[in-house]
């Protein structure tokens, strides 16, 4: 792995603030972020990334390469939870295996945003349509996870049965997906019909963005460190799973990126989408649709292990591999 890339990532403000949050917990500091603020910052990040993605998507258009990339993203969103379920079933019951599979089949928007910021620092271009892939990869895993429960679980209590209307509502209209897709569409419309609006939004969606990401990662560091105790109880298998799964999924993502002739920047974002796990949309949906599953397992593994692994080690590692495998001039 390229040491310079690792150092550049490790010493970036975003990752340093993440570590600051981790150390606050480990050292027993009373640092805490009032609860409504992380929610506000997570909504802000989704709004900004969605709006900017929409603007860029309008510029790039919906060509065959864009549609193929989005199709590959959807394919991964379905295949990853199925494969993960098969592995997890060896150690967990149907409910926990399905909830964990759902988390790993979906994506982490903050990991994606961190990777995109890393690319900007390195001045490696990426395309706005990757935000569309991000938005579309959130939901399918939720549906796959519930299908797995319905097919594999027996003697499920009537109270735990959730109607498909509720599931689809949760999968496609949960706040993060709704805001991301809505902001993407607003970005598209503004770029098409009211381009002066882009400059008006720039101070909010552009200049404040990196600082807000750092602040949110400070909170993520605190929350991730608080989850470490839960993870110790989950056992070695889940810890191993949460570290190996991103590597396996990123490798498949790299293969698909090569087949699709993605640029280096897009390939990194695609690999990060494949490698990340959801700790926002999926846990909320699983809590409602698979209440038998233990939230401390799927939240702690996604947030306490996979998320830090991806933003600290994964992103520079994936880019390092991409630079060796994919030519810089790829379209």
């Amino acid at each position: 792995m390229d040491t310079a890339l690792v150092l550049q990532n490790l010493l970036s403000p975003a990752i340093l603030f993440f570590f600051l949050g981790v150390f606050a917990v480990l050292l027993g500091s009373d640092l805490e972020i009032p609860a409504p603020l992380p929610k506000l910052f997570s909504l802000y990040l989704l709004l900004s990334i969605g709006f900017k993605g929409g603007v860029e998507l309008q510029a790039s258009g919906l060509g065959s390469d864009v549609l193929l990339t989005i199709g590959a993203a959807l394919l991964m969103a379905v295949l990853v939870p199925l494969a993960a379920f098969g592995v997890l079933r060896t150690q967990f019951d149907v409910f926990n295996a399905a909830a964990l599979a759902g988390a790993y089949g979906s994506i982490s928007a903050v990991t994606f945003i961190t990777a995109e910021s890393f690319l900007r620092v390195l001045q490696i271009p990426s395309d706005g349509y990757m935000v569309a892939a991000l938005a579309l990869m959130e939901s399918p895993a939720i549906i796959v996870a519930l299908l797995l429960v319905k097919l594999a679980a027996q003697d499920r209590g009537a109270a735990a049965e959730t109607g498909w209307g509720s599931v689809l509502h949760e999968a496609f209209l949960n706040s993060s997906v709704f805001l991301l897709v809505g902001s993407l569409l607003i970005g598209l419309l503004v770029a098409q019909y009211s381009p002066s609006g882009i400059a008006k939004m720039e101070p909010f969606t552009g200049q404040l963005f990196y600082g807000a990401l750092c602040f949110f990662l400070l909170d993520m560091g605190i929350v991730a460190a608080q989850r470490l105790a839960d993870l110790q109880q989950a056992g070695a298998f889940l810890i191993g799973f949460s570290l190996l799964t991103p590597l396996v999924n990123a490798s498949v993502g790299l293969g698909l990126s090569s087949v699709l002739h993605l640029s280096q920047g897009n390939a990194l974002l695609f690999m990060v989408l494949c490698a990340s796990a959801s700790y926002i949309a999926v846990p909320a949906a699983m809590r409602m649709t698979v209440p038998e599953a233990n939230p401390s397992l799927y939240i702690s593994s996604a947030l306490g292990m996979t998320f830090p692994f991806n933003i600290i080690v994964g992103i520079p590692l994936y880019l390092s591999v991409i630079e060796r495998v994919l030519p810089a001039g790829a379209l």
Partner: protein, 94 residues
């Protein structure tokens, strides 16, 4: 007059309130952002509020005792599925 105290995760609050209204309670009060520690030792905090998995909500209902049976039938399955507690006590208007 009876007082019903319910503690549930905020995630299930809307579901709970819908069932209360189906039973026909005259009204209710809701305290959100309730933190603490459950009987099993589980710490309830606001740490995951950014994800929609927030702290607990405390719902207080004052109603006639004739509604208790319907309330139990509606709420017990919900509490069994998602967790949470409910306690009934006597209440007297001042």
């Amino acid at each position: 007059m009876k007082r019903l105290d319910l503690l549930v995760n905020e995630r299930e609050l809307e579901l709970l309130l819908k069932r209360l209204e189906q039973v026909g309670v005259p009204g209710y009060s809701v305290n959100r952002h309730v933190t603490g520690r459950g009987g099993s030792g589980t710490v309830v905090s606001e740490a995951m509020e950014f994800s929609g998995l927030g702290a607990n909500a405390h719902v207080i209902v004052f109603c006639d005792s004739s509604l208790l049976e319907s309330l139990a039938a509606e709420l017990k399955p919900l509490l069994k599925t998602y967790g949470g507690v409910a306690y009934v006590s006597d209440a007297q208007p001042l």
